[in-house]
């Protein structure tokens, strides 16, 4: 992909990472502690939920492991996700800077001048090519004439059986 398209893709990627970051944080953020009077949310509400999708005949596979694993898992995720996502955002921004630095830019007048030079050179070499082609065509016709004469003479000298 050319560099300008890569840059455009990178801008879109940065925007996508930003909205994903904010969306994920807003979705997964734990509720805010409003006052010290209210207790922490209970962690043992899971065993009371039935498991309708479990067809093994084992309604509660891990009654003790699930509730205690969930809050600590969630706490880990909530702490690590912002780090990972912000690292990705900064990486994307750095890649954008690197791509911008790699842009091969030059002035418009310099480009137009180069185009004019190349057109003149193209014209000249086109004329030369045409000259050579015409000369080669002429020589080919001459050689074909000579070949025809030679074969005619050969045929005339040969006695038919």
């Amino acid at each position: 992909m050319d560099i300008i398209s890569q840059l455009q893709e990178q801008v879109n990627t940065i925007a996508l990472l930003a909205v994903n970051t904010f969306g994920t944080l807003q979705r997964d953020a734990p509720p805010v502690r409003l006052s010290t009077d209210y207790p922490e949310p209970a962690a043992n509400s899971n065993p009371s939920n039935p498991n309708p999708t479990n067809g093994d005949g084992n309604p509660n596979p891990n009654p003790n492991a699930n509730p205690s694993a969930n809050p600590s898992e969630e706490a880990n995720n909530v702490a690590e996700q912002p780090k990972a996502m912000s690292a990705a955002l900064v990486q994307a921004a750095k890649k954008f800077d690197a791509l911008v630095a790699a842009l091969p830019l030059s002035g418009e007048e310099a480009q137009l001048q180069r185009i004019a030079e190349l057109q003149a050179e193209n014209e000249a070499i086109g004329l030369e090519l045409q000259k050579q082609l015409e000369a080669a065509d002429l020589e080919m016709k001459q050689v074909q004439e000579l070949f025809n004469h030679a074969t005619d003479n050969c045929l005339n000298l040969k006695k038919p059986d």
Binding site: D2, I4, L7, Q8, V11, I14, A15, A18, F22, Q26, L89, V90, A93, F96, D97, V100, A101, L103, P104, L105, G107, E108, Q111, L112, R114, I115, L118, Q119, E121, N122, I125, G126, E128, L129, Q132, L133, A135, A136, E139, V143
Partner: protein, 171 residues
């Protein structure tokens, strides 16, 4: 189908009568109309045949980078990138402290992104000229190669002819 009079297709334009003898005499039919130039209306909207990138003001978007004939694209793009990162951080702060005021910050971020895209789009003519230069250079290269090839083959043919003359003379 009988009740579809309001929704039936319009009849074909009456020009078809002019082409009744087209197969026998192609010149009896009128020539095709010339291509449209300038601006033309289409389905209620006006379009133009000139292919030029509309400026940000034409689209109603504030331009953040300085105007002028020569824009330093690299510098402007890098500073817009930095601005974008700062605004994202500002949005995060606003969401923590005053969540109801997110709208202004989100608008700022989208403004910066539109400016970046506009800058990148205005680099496309430069890319087109660079592509043209590349094409001209490769064409010149191919033509030079062809000229060399033709010269070489002609010399070989001349050599062969001279040799064959020598052989015929010596016999």
């Amino acid at each position: 189908m009988a009740t579809g009079t309001a929704a039936s297709y319009p009849p074909p334009p009456p020009y078809y009568r002019l082409y009744s003898d087209y197969l026998t005499d192609p010149d009896s039919a009128p020539p095709p109309p010339p291509p449209v130039e300038g601006s033309y209306p289409l389905y209620g909207a006006t379009y133009t045949t000139e292919a030029v990138l509309p400026s940000l003001e034409d689209q109603g978007v504030r331009q953040l980078y300085p105007k002028g004939p020569n824009i330093d694209f690299k510098k402007e793009l890098m500073s817009l990138n930095r601005d974008l990162q700062l605004h994202i951080l500002e949005l995060a702060d606003v969401l923590i402290e005053r969540p109801s005021q997110y709208a202004r910050r989100v608008e700022d971020i989208s403004l910066i992104l539109r400016n970046m895209h506009h800058l990148l789009n205005s680099l496309r003519p430069h890319q087109a000229r660079a592509t043209l230069i590349h094409i001209l250079e490769s064409q010149i290269q191919r033509r030079k190669q062809a000229v060399e090839d033709i010269k070489r083959r002609r010399e070989e043919a001349q050599k062969l002819l001279k040799e064959s003359i020598q052989i015929l003379d010596s016999q």
